[in-house]
């Protein structure tokens, strides 16, 4: 490892820009002649739009246009879609209701847009929006899953009778039932995974610029995958063909899944830009983010686990109702199915599993993948079950887990996944040691003598990252391939540009991707530059989510690097009059082994471009591209243990210690990996203790600002103790697995298990607010 190579804690290149206020986010962009969009949104969760009167608004100063849902439908802009097809048990396809970018007739969740005002200034558009009169006829509302599937419930979409989108299953029902028949013990539980709001700190925004002369659109957008945005906007939404649409995602202030999708506002901005013949900017405010960013989680689950007389798990049955909100967001259907149920075995050898998932429409904000996407839901359910089982079976929770760990790899689970490698015992050992698990009973007794309830909670998670291979996801219903592309360009003077389809919105690609090049070529990372986030510069990419950037994106770069190196070695051999097989690359030099002859990288690069003296028939230039489609998911795993105290008089929880032991395979930059884990832990702990998106019975969002929705603040969280154990991923040449979501996946159960341990009562749902904990203690 060099000082800047793989494994080094290199300080991030992008930080000079971000710490000095020179980041360039979408709202920072100004284009000459730009107008501003302000959306008119329904205050009703379910209503008919009877009429929209914009005559008064049109008289107001600075109003350029008021455009409505009827107009966008008339102009044949396509409906929003979900691209992952799920088939119900009975063989029928999922039932998708139409989702126009602005509602021409019916609104189905509070905040859905019905019209947009385009103004010369933001304030003028906003003022005029107040003067637009929308006449609604309210319709009956279903605000939660139970209400939506009750007999006689109001129907949201004619396509989905009973508000059921699909009724899907996976696993072997007969085998699972058989296990329960022979079980020595059965553990049963109802578990709620509550709804979250992603709340990336940068609200979504779009700047759309239609060029009349060229009939060409440019869209600046807060996106995690600008190429996919372009693909969907052109292939499905009829905005413009791909070669007439440039999508740029510049600096993006956090995504966490919420910026994967195409939203109505981007489509409307593009369409409106052509309509008014001017650039259009829309910047969401925080209230709009609460109402319209795709939410996360929202599962109601009943599960049973069967054990034999030796406390080995022999079967698992799960039935989950997933609330997908009022419309099907881009990838929503895959989250409670293939991203959730396939991870239900967790780290355990469970021979028989049967899971059913019923996806339901309600009059709430659409739900889609959010930080971890399906995996946190699976892990939380399973790890609460394991803890509950340990208490019911009267065995130590850590030992019950250890006894059931998968120890042979590769391991084929009964629900699709083939785990390639892992050492679950090593993570558990490491976490138990870090928290002094053995000493806990003494500490608990001491706390008790001081009037405090102390608890410890274990959670062993596994996740599946780098969703792949394309052939496999295609067979499961995905509408896209999940490979990544890269191009490595060595410039004539030896500096290097890496073009990648991955997108960085906080993950530090500008540094880690350069570390790979530094490692291979021995050049400083300052000579290497990442180019990303622009559909006109990078040919294609799938973007960043599901912790895929290293395992898939970086491997694509490695493949392109290998091609560049091969050609560079040919040139070097020719220049040095040596044999190609004798050339080695060391510290930026190409050396002929066994001689003192060498040539530096810049001279090789220059030779490639002057082309005065190249091997006969060689094409000039030094740039290569590669597409990489992985052979399998990667499987990061680990153990989190939380020790905390509950004050029985207030129900307030305070952390004593939180340890995380993860196995992410090879770490490219341990400093960045740790940062990713911290962020994930904050999300998981936030959900466990604070965060909760609440809708009342009328579908009114009660938690639609930072005043009502409890975001974790510095004071709410502990400092974390991290450690890493390593099994190298055999599925990619770098041995990397992915780390972005682990913290969010594993930590919620650790916290809730610790609280329920402390209070001696298992009836607790997230978020475990002091009020809920107090009631759990005192009844």
């Amino acid at each position: 490892m060099g000082v800047e190579g793989i494994g080094a804690r290199v300080v991030r290149k992008e930080d000079r820009r971000f710490t000095t206020g020179r980041g360039r986010y979408v709202d920072d962009i100004k284009i000459l002649g730009m107008t501003y969009a302000h959306f008119i949104r329904t205050p009703h969760a379910h209503a008919k739009v009877k009429s929209i009167d914009s005559s008064a608004a049109m008289q107001m100063p600075g109003v350029v246009a008021v455009l409505t849902g009827k107009q966008i439908v008339d102009d044949k802009v396509g409906n929003l879609i979900c691209v992952w097809a799920i088939t119900s048990k009975d063989g029928t396809p999922m039932k998708m209701g139409a989702w126009p970018a602005m509602a021409p007739e019916t609104v189905r969740f509070v905040g859905q847009a019905v019209a947009v005002v385009i103004g010369e200034t933001k304030n003028q558009a906003r003022d005029a929006a107040e003067a637009v009169v929308v006449d609604y006829e309210e319709l009956p509302v279903v605000a939660d899953v139970k209400a939506a599937i009750a007999p006689g419930a109001p129907q949201l979409h004619p396509e989905a009778p009973g508000n059921i989108i699909y009724d899907w299953h996976i696993g072997d029902q007969a085998a699972a039932d058989g296990a329960f028949k022979s079980a020595a013990n059965i553990v049963s539980m109802d578990v709620i995974n509550n709804r979250l709001v992603p709340n990336a700190m940068e609200p979504r925004a779009a700047v759309a610029d239609y060029d009349t002369a060229e009939d060409h659109y440019t869209l600046y957008t807060t996106s995690q995958n600008p190429h996919v945005a372009r693909l969907v906007l052109s292939a499905f939404y009829n905005i413009a063909p791909e070669h007439k649409l440039r999508v740029i995602a510049p600096d993006v202030g956090g995504g966490f899944g919420s910026k994967i999708y195409i939203y109505p506002e981007e489509m409307v901005s593009l369409w409106a830009s052509k309509k008014v013949g001017r650039p259009v900017k829309w910047t969401g405010d925080r209230s709009e983010a609460f109402l319209t960013d795709a939410h996360g989680r929202d599962h109601l689950t009943h599960a049973d686990m069967a054990f034999d007389k030796d406390n080995r798990i022999i079967g698992l049955r799960v039935k989950t109702h997933a609330n997908l909100g009022a419309y099907m967001s881009l990838f929503s259907s895959s989250v409670p199915t293939y991203l959730y149920a396939t991870l239900l075995p967790g780290q355990y050898n469970i021979p028989a599993i049967y899971a059913e998932v019923i996806a339901v429409y309600t009059n709430t904000t659409p739900v889609d993948a959010y930080r971890g996407a399906g995996r946190p839901e699976a892990s939380y359910l399973l790890e609460r079950m394991m803890e509950t089982a340990a208490r019911q079976l009267k065995v130590d929770p850590a030992e019950l887990r250890r006894k059931n760990f998968i120890t042979q790899f590769p391991h084929q689970t009964p629900v699709i996944m083939a785990y390639d490698i892992g050492d679950f015992g090593a993570s558990l050992d490491s976490a138990m040691k870090a928290i002094d698990y053995a000493g806990f009973p003494t500490r608990k007794a001491k706390a008790k003598s001081e009037g405090k309830l102390r608890g410890i909670g274990v959670s062993c998670y596994i996740e599946a990252c780098g969703i792949a291979p394309s052939k496999a996801v295609g067979s499961l219903g995905a509408g896209v391939g999940l490979w990544e592309s890269a191009e490595v360009r060595v410039n004539p003077v030896g500096t290097i540009e890496i073009l990648t389809g991955s997108h960085s919105h906080g993950q530090g690609h500008e540094t880690t991707f350069c570390q790979l090049v530094a490692e291979r070529l021995g050049v400083p990372i300052s000579q290497v530059q990442i180019v990303h986030g622009d559909a006109d510069k990078v040919q294609f990419g799938m973007g960043t989510y599901g912790s895929r950037s290293a395992a898939v994106g970086l491997t694509a770069i490695l493949k392109a690097m290998e091609k560049v190196e091969t050609k560079a070695k040919k040139i070097a051999a020719h220049q040095l009059e040596a044999s190609e097989s004798d050339i080695v690359i060391e510290n930026g030099e190409f050396k002929a082994t066994g001689t003192d002859k060498s040539i530096a990288l810049p001279m090789v690069a220059l030779a490639a471009y002057t082309a005065h003296n190249l091997p006969d028939g060689m094409e000039p230039g030094l740039k290569e591209g590669a597409f990489y489609d992985p052979t399998n998911f990667t499987f990061p795993a680990g153990t989190y243990i939380c020790e905390l105290e509950v004050d029985p008089s207030t129900g307030k929880t305070s952390f004593v210690n939180f340890v995380a032991a993860d196995d992410f395979g090879r770490l490219i930059n341990p400093m960045i990996v740790e940062g990713q884990v911290h962020g994930g832990l904050a999300q998981g702990i936030g959900q466990a203790l604070l965060e909760h998106a609440v809708f009342d019975a009328n579908g009114q969002p009660v938690t639609a600002s930072f005043m009502d929705y409890a975001m974790p603040r510095a004071d709410d969280l502990p400092s974390f103790k991290l450690s890493h154990t390593t099994t190298l991923c055999p599925g990619n040449p770098l041995g990397v697995k992915g780390c972005g979501e682990a913290g969010a996946i594993g930590s919620s159960a650790a916290v809730i298990n610790a609280i329920t341990d402390a209070i001696g009562n298992n009836k607790l749902e997230m978020p475990a607010t002091p009020d809920r904990v107090w009631h759990a203690i005192h009844g």
Binding site: R22, G23, E202, E674, G679, D715
Partner: protein, 161 residues
């Protein structure tokens, strides 16, 4: 509309603005100082923190007119040329940022925290004092580390002056 005059990052500026213009919009939209961010509409997130006459203030809660005549410092105004402010350097060295969106506000708040507490900063105080700033990426662990680190650096750089 009113004309206002103030000092921003050491330079005298004047602008013709609507009376309802907030300081954050004066900075971002009129002066093109886009380092100050808007993360919420209820003054909870702290992405917009700047200094007015040396004190940390959420620029989304201040009318531009209220800042007339005062001296405003934004994230763009704290480095000395190419040399980062010790707080900026500490954030970089301790990986106190990821997407960078909350970072300008965090840094401006953090500098004020250090000024007010001097050498008496500990983790608990930093966590408590950061309650007006939200970060969704870092889990705060490294932000807290950055602020404590910078507190030492700022003391040293004052001593050197």
């Amino acid at each position: 509309m009113s004309a206002i005059k103030l000092t921003v990052n050491g330079k005298a500026v004047s602008a013709e603005i609507e009376d309802r213009t907030l300081l954050v919009h004066l900075l971002r939209d009129h002066l093109n100082l886009t380092g100050t961010h808007v993360g919420c509409d209820t003054s909870q997130c702290g992405a917009c923190v700047v200094h007015i006459d040396g004190r940390a203030v959420k620029s989304c809660t201040v009318l531009a007119g209220q800042a007339a005549g005062s001296s405003v410092t934004t994230i763009e105004g704290i480095a000395k040329g190419d040399e980062l402010h010790p707080m900026q350097a500490a954030f970089r060295d301790n990986h106190g940022l990821q997407c960078g969106f909350c970072t300008p506000g965090m840094i401006m708040s953090a500098i004020d925290i250090v000024h007010r507490h001097g050498g008496k900063l500990d983790e608990e105080t930093v966590r408590h004092e950061l309650e007006g700033n939200i970060c969704r990426c870092t889990g705060y662990h490294n932000i807290v580390k950055s602020v404590l680190d910078a507190a030492g650096r700022m003391k040293m750089s004052r001593a050197a002056e």
